[in-house]
Amino acid sequence: MNLYKYASPVTFYPLAGKLIPWFAALAVVFGLVGLYLGLIVAPEDAQQGQVYRIIFIHVPTAWVGMVVYLVMAAYGVAALTLKTRLSSMMMEALAPTGALFTALALLTGALWGKPTWGTYWIWDARMTSTLILLFLYIGYIALIHAIEDKKRADKAGALLVIVGSVNVPIIYFSVRWWNTLHQGASVSATGSKMATVMAQGMLIMALACWMYAIAVVLARVRAIILERQYQGANEILGFEIAGTEMTGTEMVGTK
């Protein structure tokens, strides 16, 4: 099988269309099973009571938010070395979903923090790193939208995400370092004494989030493929149509 065949937007477009319903269906199934396990089957936590159930959605969103950035970096390397157009489109499609999940991880973390720690925001190492990750997503999205030339925006975005991903472990390490220096709060998910059913519930919720993310990213990348293919053509055609009503000198003026 030639994998490069699927690196072309033209062949990938119908493939993605066929895959989306499957991922969406899996997302629903995993979501229902995960919610059932997390909200009903899993027992109450001895220390935190019922409110700990937020981790069944908090941890999966944080996980997706972080991994999507690394996936973007992998596509970034592919975009700059193999020069596949699809890689850049995938990066553009992944970024909003990654940013959304990172923001949701912060929101659910805050909603967990209030009843558990008495405050919505806690400068915990993990929360702080997640906030910085959100800044990295916003930087990428701002950059690719600020550059008008699509080709340049693709390459610049790829380079930025690669530089950013090299920095991600350093940022994480530095924030933990800062956290211990300041003896700040350290929030730990229930940890080793987590019951099996809790772990299963969290894993299945994570799978649900992944399936949803893949489905929505594939749907977005299909829209991007169409936009890229026809945007340029539309502008040229626009000029041609306008040109029929224009005199020759006016056409020169527009060029």
């Binding site: 800044f135 600020a146 550059i147 340049r152 610049a156 530089v163 920095n167 370092w177 220096l181």
Partner: protein
Amino acid sequence: MNAPRSLSRLEFEPLPDSSSGMVELSRSPERGFFVAAARDIFLAFRSKGEVIQALVFFIVVVSLFPLAIGAETALLRRIAPGVVWVAALLSVLLTLPRLFASDHLDGTLEQMLLSPFPLTLIVAGKMAAHWLTTGLPLALMAPLLGLQFGLGGDELGVLVMSLLLGTPILSMLGAVGAALTLGVRGGSVLVALLILPLYIPVLIFGAGAVEAVATGIDYAANLSLLGAGLLFGALATPFAVAAAVKISLD
């Protein structure tokens, strides 16, 4: 304004083929680094305003804090490392457009791409010049500001050392952002958005070193981490910046 700039631009024009020893000598690649650095330092000092403006900005920002939160000595000593470091970070950020923008506008940057010197070394030279004209003056000015905040001798020493090790990293990472946003509308805010998150580790280790010495903890680890970052940055960022310049000029 234009004449000397275009004169120094000649340095980057492709050299004519010749077997004479002189030309061979001037083709040696590391010369690209020194030519680029010397040229940028020369330009920065000729328009004296730029170097001084960043320095004054640094001083003014730091001076705002006592006015905003009160001049209680214990409080000022407590926040001094963070305030000085954040102000240094913002000053460097303000000067980043200077790195490539004017060379981009007058076409010198394109000449650099075509010059016989490797672009990686040219941008490394520009980054070095940027540090010498922004980071270094900031580091040398910092003890004065530290005194205003009631820092003692040891803390002042570590503050200067942390700035000497950390500000080059700010110039290096900043160069990536400056190169990526060349000629983009609203570039300066965009650079801040791209680069500030990447500056966070430098800020943490830099301000952390001074705080460590103030609280009597070992500060050497912070400085070594900054040193490691400096080495890694010096090895990696010139390639990233060269790639970014090529992307922007394509």
